[in-house]
Symmetry: C2
Subunit: 110 residues, 2 copies
DNA sequence: GCTCTCCTCTAGATAATCAAGATGACCATA
DNA sequence: TATGGTCATCTTGATTATCTAGAGGAGAGC
């Protein structure tokens, strides 16, 4: 069996997607690629997780999709962060920081 | 509605339980209390998550249970970490560290 | 007797993820 | 023209960790 990429820490995918869109709109495939690259292969996001996440985030009004040609003259659906999406990113980042600190405290308790 | 304790980051409960047992055996209720205390109330582990986790960990041979009286002369099931459990704790800690670094890289990418 | 706290445990629902594809279009090469 | 690679979207079905919302028992204090 191949060395498998780690499963995503459940609950973080939405935050990672929003974060990935913070600077500029991207299409789904590009988002997955970016997460894989920056995580240095630790997270390999699978389409069966990615596309349901897009629908979730769209339904909440945090991202918006638009069909556009890519640089390679192919069609792709570009997602951009809405204003409410930026707010949500801040909220989720704060929550993550809090939980991270809590886990760290437990892991470092002597 | 009361300010609710944050949901556990999914996948970390097993690690937190093993960690809590690292120094000495504890009973289930005590484990939940300790996690809540050290996390300063961020995680409020609920029995419906806790006891299934115990069965999982026991089935894997990572913890072992034994009925014993508490300091208050009540019966309680004390769980202790097995040798294999200590190995598993090391493995999960390493994996968590790796994933944490990956998430941090994504969250800090400019 | 009564209630509070300690402590174990269960049933059912929810929801995020995974595995394993299908589909189609552009592009390079034979 | 045929073929195969890679870009790109999307689906179906299963798994599984968690949550909500309890039940139940037993000692302690009043």
């Amino acid at each position: 069996m191949n060395p498998r990429a780690a499963d995503l820490v459940q609950g973080t995918l939405d935050m990672l997607i929003l974060k990935t869109l913070q600077l500029e709109p991207r299409h789904g495939y590009g988002i997955a690629q970016r997460i894989e690259q920056i995580s240095r292969g630790v997270f390999r996001v699978n389409p069966g997780s990615l596309f349901p996440a897009f629908r979730r985030l769209e339904r909440q009004g945090w991202i918006k999709a638009e069909w556009r040609p890519t640089e390679n003259h192919r069609r792709a659906k570009y997602y951009r962060l809405t204003e409410r999406g930026r707010g949500q990113l801040r909220t989720e980042t704060a929550e993550w920081t809090k939980q991270l600190a809590a886990i760290t405290r437990i892991m470092e308790a002597s």
